[in-house]
Amino acid sequence: MSVDTGIEPGAALPKARGDYLPLLLPVALALAALPFVPVSTWFTLTVAGLAMGMMIFVMASGLTLIFGLMDVLNFGHGAFIAIGAYVATLVLLPLGGWMQADSIWLNLAALLSAIVAAMAVTAVIGLAFERILIVPVYGQHLKQILITMGGMIVAEQLLYALFGPQQIPLALPTSLRGSFLIGDAAIEKYRVVAVLVGLVVFVTMLLILNRTKIGLLIRAGVENGEMVEALGYRIRRLFVGVFMAGSALAGLGGVMWGLYREQVNASMGGELLVLVFIVVIIGGLGSVTGCFIGALLVALLQNYIGFLVPKLSLISDILLMVAVLLWRPRGLYPVTSR
């Protein structure tokens, strides 16, 4: 006996209705700001917002995956942002000649070296962090908050002890300094690069999550890790891999943010962590696409509000989060039922 559904097998396959509304929000926000700002300023603010959003996305994407898959509230994520930035300063110190050279290739070689080193170091520290601090507190959220906050404080104080309390300069390479002029609008070169890097990270994550078996396992594990194990997959190993990748992404975000601000300090991770958590909550726990949209919204809004009503910019993130949660209480694209 088979089941009659009244639908011809193999014929026009019905698909789930896509939820595209959140994708339109950044565009709607940008268009809504246009009447209130001169066009050239709007263009500059928008590119600045996109660049900032991409950097926040890179930092937050690892955290959302870690929470979605492992159900771990990692308040130590900010430590990896700061460590990534400090590793970049250490690598770029002896490569100062390449950074100052007029050759774009030497500039990029120096930057790539710093990025690879920062991601490798933060991935390895992430492995140790997961094995030593996280493993004993799986499934215990309160203890996770306490122990990861503790880890964050220890890391921050170690950075102070090793590098001192002063700001450490992290200069941009020669070829990324200055701006492009488009009409009356000045667009900083580095912001364009940040947008491109963020897009590459986003597309790569989407391809991995949607086109590979590892990605399938991560998406399934975010939803129901127990069932993934019952199908015969060792999800603990996947946990470790995702934690390392998430830490490495935080490291990359730290390098990008350090270059954006052209300085690093030990408390930068803690300062960015609040923003990162807001983005993860707005996006919906565990969702990379939601995290991407959330980061763009937060950054664009900060830039527009900062220009139009500077005093409001301090609370624009919180107001945005409240508005999104009133509309969608589990965030824009919730993946987990947590």
Partner: protein
């Protein structure tokens, strides 16, 4: 007939609750063993303990002669056990295809086996690229079942597959179970629907309060209305 799976004096605690109180169960190879009992008797806990999703606090579980009670769940699954949970546990965010791709551990899906599954469950083909979360309850059950049989397994643990399903879907499930069994799989099936149990079961074990309180051939229990009433609080007549 040799026994593929045996539980000896298995105890399970969940937190401070003592759920299984020394379960002794034998599942003969190539047969369908029904695990019956009232709600809260410990049937689901027994299946989850076999899969290693809850740890046995005492006792011994042997599968194909090897002890498995201390092995991690993925290793137990890889030993050849497929699991269909009561909740179905399909991955809602993944398409039907992706759910089955994940279940096919050994590599690409066998096209002929997939066609065989589509023969029982045509909606899976119809909704091949749809997200599993959009399927109806019956279709999710088909997907959950298909996931367990997309590759041959030596033993299938199935938890209340017919709960809340339409009769036509129950019929398809029964046909599929019979075919899976004919192909050599052993089945341990938790079922509340006594008619279904009678139709597909070879042997039966009844649980009550975390223990096995009766074991016999299914036909023997089906014939004995008084025994059914005593063990399960029902009679087959009431279900006809």
């Amino acid at each position: 007939m040799s026994e593929l799976l045996t539980l000896s004096a298995v105890e399970t605690h969940i937190g401070r609750y003592h759920i299984l109180h020394g379960v002794d169960l034998a599942v003969p190879e190539g047969a369908t063993t029904m695990l019956l009992g009232r709600n809260g008797a410990g049937k689901t806990t027994a299946l989850r303990t076999i899969m290693g999703l809850w740890r046995a606090s005492a006792g011994e579980i042997r599968f194909g002669g090897s002890r498995i009670e201390a092995r991690p769940t993925p290793d137990i699954a890889r030993a050849g056990i497929g699991y269909v949970p009561e909740t179905m546990a399909v991955f809602s965010d993944l398409t039907v295809k992706e759910n089955l791709v994940l279940a096919a551990r050994e590599g690409a899906m066998d096209e002929s086996r997939l066609g065989w599954i589509f023969g029982f469950f045509p909606p899976l083909k119809t909704f091949w690229l749809s997200r599993a979360g959009t399927l109806s309850g019956g279709q999710k059950q088909m997907l959950s079942f298909a996931r367990a049989i997309i590759e041959p397994r030596r033993l299938l643990l199935i938890d209340e597959p017919t709960k809340g399903l339409a009769p036509a879907i129950i019929g398809a499930l029964i046909d599929c179970l019979a075919e899976v069994k004919r192909r050599g799989a052993t089945i341990l099936l938790v079922e509340q629907n006594f008619r279904v149990a009678q139709e597909i079961g070879d042997s039966v074990s009844v649980m009550d309060d975390g223990r096995i309180v009766h074991t016999s051939a299914m036909a023997e229990l089906a014939r004995d209305g008084a025994l059914q009433h005593r063990l399960l609080g029902l009679s087959l007549g009431a279900h006809q």
